[in-house]
Symmetry: C2
Amino acid sequence: MKATGIIVEYNPFHNGHLLHLREARKQTDADVIIAVMSGSFLQRGEPALLPKWERAQMAIDAGVDLVVELPFHFATQQADIFANGAVDILDALGVQTLFFGSENGDADAFTQTAKLLTEQSIPFKAAMGRFLEDKANSYAVAWNLAIREIAPNLALDLAQPNNILGFHYTRAIIEQRKRIEIATMTRQSAGYHDESPAHHSIASATAIRRMLLANDWQSVKQYVPETTLAILHKYRETYSFVSWDDFWPLLRYQLMTAPTSQLQAIRGVSEGIENRLQQATQLATNFDEFLGAVTTKRYSSARIKRVSLQILAQQAKTKAPTQNYIRLLGMSSAGQRYLSQVKKVATLPIVSTASKTDPALIQKDVLATKLYSLSPSLGDQLLRDYHTSPYRKKL
Amino acid sequence: MKATGIIVEYNPFHNGHLLHLREARKQTDADVIIAVMSGSFLQRGEPALLPKWERAQMAIDAGVDLVVELPFHFATQQADIFANGAVDILDALGVQTLFFGSENGDADAFTQTAKLLTEQSIPFKAAMGRFLEDKANSYAVAWNLAIREIAPNLALDLAQPNNILGFHYTRAIIEQRKRIEIATMTRQSAGYHDESPAHHSIASATAIRRMLLANDWQSVKQYVPETTLAILHKYRETYSFVSWDDFWPLLRYQLMTAPTSQLQAIRGVSEGIENRLQQATQLATNFDEFLGAVTTKRYSSARIKRVSLQILAQQAKTKAPTQNYIRLLGMSSAGQRYLSQVKKVATLPIVSTASKTDPALIQKDVLATKLYSLSPSLGDQLLRDYHTSPYRKKL
C-alpha cells in the first residue's frame, strides 16, 4: 500500500483542508493518507479550539486514513523542531511522499533551497547570530535576512508562511536523511492569517474560529464539510470552545508566584523575557492585554504565546533528546489495514491506549492534556486521555 | 506609655476578642494595646475570610491601638515559628506584657512549663524523633507524647489549643531572652474548634465564618460588635468572603504541572507527601474532597493545608533566617502617639507604605497579598497592598 503523509493542526478541519486532502491522494496516487496532527496545543502557542479526539474524528470522517498525534514537545515549538518531529513520525510509518500546500507550488524549489541551506549551515548560523545582535530584529526577521545574505537569488519566497513550513519539512527530510519524496500544491486563497473569508467555500481556520466563537453557524456551514459541522454541533451541545482566555488565570498565577530562577529554567525563556512577562501580569486583565503589553518587534506574538505555554506547562529546558512516538488518534478501515502491515517494521513505539503505555514515554503529553482539560470550557475530562481509544470509522 | 501586646488573627473580630481586648487593657493596666495580626493567610494554612485591611480596621474600631502584620513567613507556619515571629515584633515595639487567652488561665504554669522544656530541649528532641518514627503519629501527637515523657507531671494541659499557643509564646520569650512579661485570662466558652455558638454573645470565629458564608446576618449580629458588623456589611456589598475553594483551581493546576523535584523543594514538603497530593488532585473536584483524600493520622488537615498553601505560593525551603519587620496596618490616636515615641528605638524596620519600601524586605508578603487577590471573591485588588496606607481612626 502506498502511503502519503500530511502535517496538520485541523483547528478545525475545513473545506481548504478537504481540497488539500483530495489533492494529496490524487497527485501522489496514495492508497492511504496519514496525518500527523498536533494535540491539545498548537504550533503558534495556542490551545486547540476543541480536543484532539474530536479533531481526529473530523479528519477521519472527511477521508484521512490515519491520524497520529505530534507530541507536545514538537507540536508547540518553532517550525524547525515542529517539522523534525513530524517528519520523524511519518518516516517511521513508512510514507513515501510528504504532501503540503505552499504559496510557491513547485517541489523542486523547496528541495534546492533546503539543500543549499543545509550545505551552508555554518555561514547561515553565523549570519543569524549577527542579525540577532540587533535587538530590533525578531528571530523570524533575522532568519530571513540571513537567508537573503547566504542565498540572494532564491526561487522560494521564504516570507510566505506556507513556504516556510514546506521548507522546514524538506530540510528535516534532508537532514534526517529520510527517503521521503515531497510534493506540493499551490494553496488556494485564504492564507493562515486571513481573518475574513475570501472565497465562496474556503476560509482560513482563523476566520472559521472567529465565526464559531461568535456562534455564527450560518457562516461556518459555508466553509466546513458536513462531517465537521456535525462534530462541532455535537461538541457544542455540551462544551464550549477553548481559547487562551481559559488559561489566563493560571498563567497569571504562575507568572506571579514562580521564583525568577524557576522561570529562567523554562524552555524558551531567555534574554530576560521573564521580567517583561512578570511585569505585564500586574496590569493586564486578560490574555490579549497581556500579549499586547509584551509583544515587540523582537518578540513576536507567536513567540510570546509559545513561551507562555511552556511556562503554563512548566516545561524545563532539556538537553536530552526527546523520545518521539506514534500516538494513534483515529483510523479508517484502510488506515487499520495499513497500520497492521506497518506495525512490525515501524521504527518508533506505537501507542494505542495511554493507560497501557509506559508512563515515562507519554508523560509530557499526558500533562499537556490534563492541563488542557483544566479549561472551564471542557467540564470534567481530566482522565479522558487515559481511557479513550483511537476513533475508528464505522463502515 | 505602657504597652501590652496580643497575638491575633481576627478572622473576623468578634465579641470574644472584644472581651479579651478589654481584659488585656484592664489586667495589665495598659495605655496602648498592640496587636500582631496575620495578614492574608493564617496559621492553619487558610486564606483569611476578608483582607487584612478590613480586619485591621475592625480591630482599631473596637479599641486596639496599633495593628501590625505578622509576615507570611511566620504567620502560616506551625505554632513555634508563628510564636517566634510574633514575639520578635512585639519586643521590637517595646511591649512590657504579652497577654493571651488560655484554657489554663495561670501565667506561672506557662512560665514553668516553658522553662522546663527549654532546659530539656535535647532529650525532648530525641523523644520527638523517636515518637515520629511511628508513622501513625502526627507531629502534634508525637509532640504531646514527648512532653509527657520528659515532664509527666505538668500543671499545664498541652492538649488544649490555647494552652499550646500560650506555651509557644512563653517559650519564644524565654528562648529569645526577651524582657516581656506574660499574663493570661481563662478563655470563656467557645473554643477554636466549636462550630456552634455556645454562649448568648460569644461564638467561635469558625462558627461566625460559617454564619457569614451562609449569609445568616441575624445570627452574626449576636456575636460581633457593631463596629465589625458595619465593616462586614460594607465589604459584602462589593466582595464575597474568601475561602480555600477560591484557590482550588490554582492549587490543582500547580500540583498537576509542577515537576516532582520542584514540589520537593517547597517548604514543608517531606516524606513523599508530594506524591499523595498529586494523586489526590486527579480525582478531587473541590478542596474539601482533596483535603479528605490526603488527611491521615500522620498528616493532620492543618498540616496539609499549610503545605498546600506553601505549594500554592511556591515558597521554597530556605536555610537563611528571614528578616522580620513591622508592617503597620492600623492605629488609633493613642497608637499613633505611641508609635512616634517608639519609632526611634524600634529594633526592626518599620514599613508604613509598601511602595516606599525596599522590595526585597517585603517581597514574600507582597507575593502573598497578590496571590490572595487572585481570589475571584475579591475583584481587582492586585496592587492594593502597594497603595494602601495604614488605617487611622478618625476621632
